[in-house]
């Protein structure tokens, strides 16, 4: 187990290194002079030179990267050009809001997705199953911003059950989390349903039935754990995506998370902030993926061995 985790962490570090190179180079990939873009067309040569110097862009590339990475290790990701505050502070200010939204959204997604998936599999090919499939198709096809706007229109504007996009309290959380959850649940539901149908036809389920076990026990103890393996991957990826800030939903609900921060940074060409957010999201993905891998080996004892049978 220890060996397994160390392995995953080392390869994770490698990926983060790659992301750091990419986010560092971002500023150099921009066509034209990034500093001129940042300052606008009316900037004087002195201003350009000053900012170039401030950002260290007048030094050789390798020196720049070295500086970037050593600073990053000390928690210094540069300062936001717009607010003048350190990038890390900007990100950490917004992160809790995103976490709140992500966790709650994921909770909604898992509850809806897993339970509908089980029900659909249990009543395979029945009317219920078909309704669940229709729901999933609908959920996948509907753009999340449209669903978000629709929910605001119905529940906030018409029914006035929830406030309209202006706070971060629990009541403000429900609609955006529900929007995220419904969209994310469709994938979880399809996977759970298909996995469940496959697992239920396995020999070991017949063994469990031959033992006289109750249906609930067979479903939850014997089947669900085997189904969870692909489902946990998707849940993990979705969590990582949600933690990276759900740009569109945060925008629709005016939620002060990482997503709106990223949009703001892009709009105002705040390159250090953009770099910081990209790197942060990357680290988020990698960390969650490592956690998912560790979780696998807890759910499926064969994973750790590296000899998973077909």
């Amino acid at each position: 187990m220890k060996h397994f985790i160390i392995n995953r962490v080392l390869s994770g570090i490698l990926v983060i290194f790659g992301i750091s190179v990419f986010s560092f180079l971002l500023i150099h990939f921009i066509p034209g002079d990034p500093v001129k873009i940042m300052l606008g067309i009316n900037a004087s040569p002195e201003q350009v030179e000053k900012l170039n110097h401030h950002l260290g862009l007048d030094k050789p590339l390798l020196v720049q990267y070295w500086q970037y990475i050593t600073n990053a290790f000390q928690g210094d990701f540069g300062t936001s050009l717009k607010t003048g505050r350190p990038v890390l502070i900007e990100i950490l200010d917004r992160f809790p809001e995103t976490v709140k939204l992500a966790i709650f959204g994921l909770f909604v997604a898992v509850v809806i997705g897993v339970s509908l998936g089980i029900v659909a599999a249990k009543f395979k090919d029945s009317f219920i199953d078909k309704m669940c499939t229709a729901f999933a198709t609908l959920g996948i096809s509907i753009p999340s911003f449209w669903l978000g706007i629709l929910l605001v229109l119905v529940f906030s504007v018409k029914l006035a059950w929830f406030p309209i996009a202006n706070g971060t309290g629990f009541r403000d959380l429900i609609l955006p989390a529900f929007t995220l959850g419904v969209v994310a649940s469709t994938m979880i539901m399809r996977l759970t349903r298909n996995g469940m149908v496959e697992v239920l036809s396995n020999d070991y389920i017949r063994t469990a039935r031959a033992k006289g076990l109750d249906d609930g026990l067979i479903l939850f103890r014997h089947a669900l754990r085997n189904v969870l393996i692909p489902v946990v991957t998707v849940i993990g990826l979705q969590l990582a995506a949600l933690l990276g800030g759900t740009v569109i939903i945060e925008q629709v609900f005016n939620w002060p998370g990482l997503g709106t921060l990223a949009i703001g940074a892009i709009m105002s060409r705040d390159f250090p902030l953009i770099q910081g957010i990209v790197l942060f999201m990357g680290v988020m993905y990698v960390t969650i993926n490592i956690l998912v891998d560790v979780l696998y080996s807890i759910i499926d004892p064969r994973v750790e061995m590296g000899t998973k049978e077909a």
Binding site: D203, T207, A208, R209, A210, L213, N226, P301
Partner: protein
Amino acid sequence: MSNLLVVNGLTTQFESKNGPLTVVDGVDFTLKKGEVLGLVGESGCGKSVTSLSILQLLDKYGKISSGEVLYENTNLVNKTEKEMKKIRGKEISMIFQDPMNSLNPVLTIGKQIGEVIEKHEKVKGAKLKQKVVDLLNLGGIPRADEIFHEYPHRLSGGMKQRVMIAMAIACNPTMLIADEPTTALDVTIQAQILDLLRSLKDELDMSILLITHDLGVVAEMCDRVVVMYAGQVVETTDTRTLLRNPRHPYTEGLIQATPHQSKGKSRLKSIVGQVPTPDQYSPGCRFADRCPKAMDICQSNVPPLFEIDGQTSCRCWLYEMKEEVI
């Protein structure tokens, strides 16, 4: 010996696009107390479906359409699912062909054996663990204390089948259905598993319904044999008579197709053709197309089971005039 299980006219059908398919067609046999009864036939002749029908473990497309399964004189076919759950694993338990896939990969051996005891005998905690370890020992599994905490993928096929057997005998069942228990195992392991089954049968006073296509296993284990072909019983007799004096041409074919250690020189004879699928059954004898002794009547009329002597009955027109129809 008194009868433990009497199967009368058991007919099992599966739904299909072209209407119901009769996979098991009016099967009759009797399992006596303390007996090992062999259920023999080629793949696809309905042996497994028969055994699954007894415990009503068919999938949702399969249904018992008529007949009765009398276990200790009560008809299991009339039992509700809830009542059947109390019988499965407790009164009648079952082991399967493929031990590799018959154990749940994500649960420990201890858990999987323990849960059947927990369900039927309400034993818990340290007492339960001790019982499971005892069962593992009884199943001939070494290092039972360690294996208790292991997952199935760490065990070999033979060990998994021993675990399956330990699980099946956990609640002292009166009857064990063993569906090709050795087919997926190495020959040396096969012998060990058969030995284990035989000693457990005596120790626990069980009756065994042994499903196999291997006449070597039959010779080794069974007291009496039921031969099935295309969903029907074609011959029922004691093992000795079956092997020495097979009556049905199909049984004869099966025996001729079995390798025998002492007869290395002669070539094995195979039975020409294949078992017909349920939608291809002819109006006459289902074996007629492959039968070297087929007569005109075989093509048009289904032979009934003719009783030949007190021990033997055979579904073949060859025995028509000789004996009464049962």
